[in-house]
Amino acid sequence: MSALLEVSGVSVTFDGFRAINNLSIAIGEPELRAIIGPNGAGKTTFMDIVTGKTRPDTGRVTWGERSLSLLGLSESAIAREGIGRKFQKPTVFEAQTVRDNLRMALKNRRAPLDVLVWRERTDDTARIEEIAAEIGLSAHLPRIAGELSHGQKQWLEIGMLLAQEPRLLLVDEPAAGMTPAERAHTTDLLKRAARTRAVVVVEHDMEFVRRLGCKVTVLHEGAVLAEGSIDHVAANRDVIDVYLGR
């Protein structure tokens, strides 16, 4: 299996602090992958690098069949390449309706003129309805997104990611602050999404990761500490020392 995303030998330093240290990770397609690690392990910085928010000092980040380098592309260009990102805090456009939020995220041409003359076609409407059903917000399409509960906002954001039809989904702590029932729904959403695409979940919560039942990468001090099934890494001595056994 050739990798969809390949991060190799990446290092980044902030004011002398080495946030990422010679990190190498490869993600296949389709694949569900969990990345765990204690605070400051570099999980969010890893996402920042892949999505173009942070430029690494050294290393390569390549993407897709043509091994396109993502370094040097703008955030929006990377997003158009097919990498979607969900932030830790739900960031939806609160002043606009759920429908408007999804419509904006729909995979369509993104240049200003295309957006100006764009008109919603029947299949666009159908796609919006389909995603709304998937994330359980069908009844809430006309609502202002700011009125949604925390969990609903998280799902809306996941729905916006799905609407982008990305090949790789980067999800930062999707279950933070959710009730057990909401967590179960979120797990299902992510598992379903990972059937056809690559999904990388950054998570703190071991129980949630266990429920995802996927390959796990443990980060520590900006490098990979262990990789494998959840039971495999949970048995790893180093992992227990730095993370599980605190």
Binding site: T51, S74, E75, S76, A77, A79, R80, G84, R85, F87, K89, P90, T91, F93, E94, A95, Q96, D100, R103, M104, A105, R110, A111, P112, V115, L116, W118, R119, E120, R121, T122, T125, A126, E129, A133, G136, L137, S138, A139, H140, I144, G146, E147, S149, H150, G151, Q152, K153, M160, Q164, A176, G177, M178, T179, A181, E182, A184, H185, D188
Partner: protein, 426 residues
């Protein structure tokens, strides 16, 4: 095949621009009523109850409403607090003013030279015009910027091109460096100040602090009185305002409107959706600059004179104040704010308002108007962020987001009280 026919049940039918923005019909109806009312009362076309100078004031107000619309789109919708849009307005005025002044001076010079024994050569006429126009700043030759001043179509193109290109270049430099917020405002302010200081110089080629004058005289239309010309410009301004309203209503509705409001609220998130934020800002900034230029080109022939003080930073700050008082983020709010505040301003500063005798002190509105304006601006900002346009919400009881702000993870414990998650499968 239309979506309304084939849309699945439950899908909203595709709605026309007017259905999405009921304010358009209201706006056009009120504007038309106002225009016919003024025409009926004007000196040239009606009873004469409204003086020609009042018609000019009202026409100018319509132009100010148009530039306020542009400001509302760039600031209220897209979140770019530009403090330079009155500079684009002024540049539009200068562009049309150059032709007005040239063509009119040409007629005067040709008349005076016609009495000479020999018919004047073209060079003589041109020298005569140059001496007439630039004598006041000690010059007698045309600067390079006047190269096309003899041509009305060329200067009309300049009305669009000069503000448009300036905005394009300035915006491209500022947005690609990701200058945002108050820093961008300062940058636009600096641009305005630099432009105004440059125009104040006598060798700027635009008559320094004298500016361009006599613009109310339209070459070729000398036979018509100012009463007729004023009503013509009044209607032209109203038409421009109506078209501007339609144009901006189209832009801020639909997906384009969604994207630019999203840029205002969280531009980083919009980038991760795959939109190139800088291009969108540049389009909005340039387009609004062009509309401002057109508004200026209609304003200054009614004002009769333009000088560099019109481009001073304070003018652009007033523009922001009008939009804030009228209500940001709604087009009619900008129109209400600009019309009300600019008319009140000319009433107070023009000596129309009676002085208030407090016994120990007499409040003279010419001095105190700015204080009143400043206080109202502060009060509106603090207590009525929706501005005067927000009153319409009270009447229409429009739904507005009640819960804005971040409900972070720690608040979610409340979910238990709110009931089970909607539509989720457990």
């Amino acid at each position: 095949m239309t979506a309304t026919v084939t849309a699945p049940a439950g899908a909203p039918p595709r709605r026309s621009l007017i259905a999405q923005n009921p304010s358009i019909l209201w706006f056009l109806a009120i504007l038309a009523t106002f225009c016919f009312g003024v025409t009926f009362l004007a000196e040239a076309t009606g009873t004469g109850a409204i003086s020609t100078s009042m018609v000019k004031t009202l026409g100018k107000t319509l132009c100010l409403c148009l530039v306020a619309l542009a400001m509302d789109v760039v600031w209220g919708y897209c979140g770019i607090l530009s403090l330079g849009h009155m500079a684009f307005f002024g540049l539009g005025g200068y562009a049309i003013g150059m032709w007005l002044m040239y063509a009119r001076t040409e007629i005067i010079v040709a008349q005076s030279l016609a009495e000479a024994t020999l018919p004047p050569t073209e060079a003589e006429i041109r020298d005569g015009i140059a001496t007439q126009i630039f004598g006041v700043v000690g010059g007698n030759e045309f600067p390079a910027v006047w190269a096309f001043a003899h041509s009305l179509p060329a200067q009309l193109a300049m009305v669009v091109l000069v503000p448009g290109l300036l905005a394009l270049v300035f915006g491209w430099l500022a947005f690609r460096s990701r200058v945002t917020g108050v820093y961008l405002s300062i940058l636009t302010q600096a641009m305005t100040l630099a432009l105004s200081l440059y125009l104040f110089q006598n060798d700027s080629g635009l008559r320094g602090n004298n500016g361009l004058s006599g613009l109310q005289n339209i070459p070729g239309l000398e036979s018509l009185g100012q009463d007729v010309i004023s009503i013509a410009f009044f209607w032209a301004s109203a038409l421009a305002l109506a078209l501007g309203y339609l144009l901006f209503a189209w832009i801020v509705s639909g997906k384009m409107g969604s994207v630019i409001r999203a840029i205002r609220d969280d531009e980083a998130r919009v980038r991760f959706l795959g939109y190139h934020v800088e291009s969108f800002k540049l389009v909005v900034f340039t387009l609004t600059a062009i509309v401002s230029g057109i508004a200026g080109a209609l304003y200054y022939p009614q004002a009769g004179i333009i000088n560099p003080a019109e481009l001073a930073p304070i003018a652009s700050i007033y523009l922001a104040v009008w939009v804030a008082i009228g209500g940001r983020g709604r087009l009619y709010g900008a129109v209400i704010g600009a019309a009300l505040v600019s008319l009140l301003s000319s009433w107070f500063t023009g000596g129309g308002a009676p002085d208030v005798d407090l016994g120990v002190y007499t409040v003279q509105w010419t001095d105190w108007w700015l204080v009143l304006l400043g206080v109202s601006f502060v009060l509106v900002t603090l207590f009525a962020p929706k501005g005067l346009g927000g009153l319409v919400d009270l009447i229409a009881e429009r739904r507005a987001p009640q819960r804005v702000g971040d409900y972070g993870p720690d608040k979610s414990a409340l979910r238990r009280e709110e009931g089970p998650p909607q539509g989720g499968e457990e």
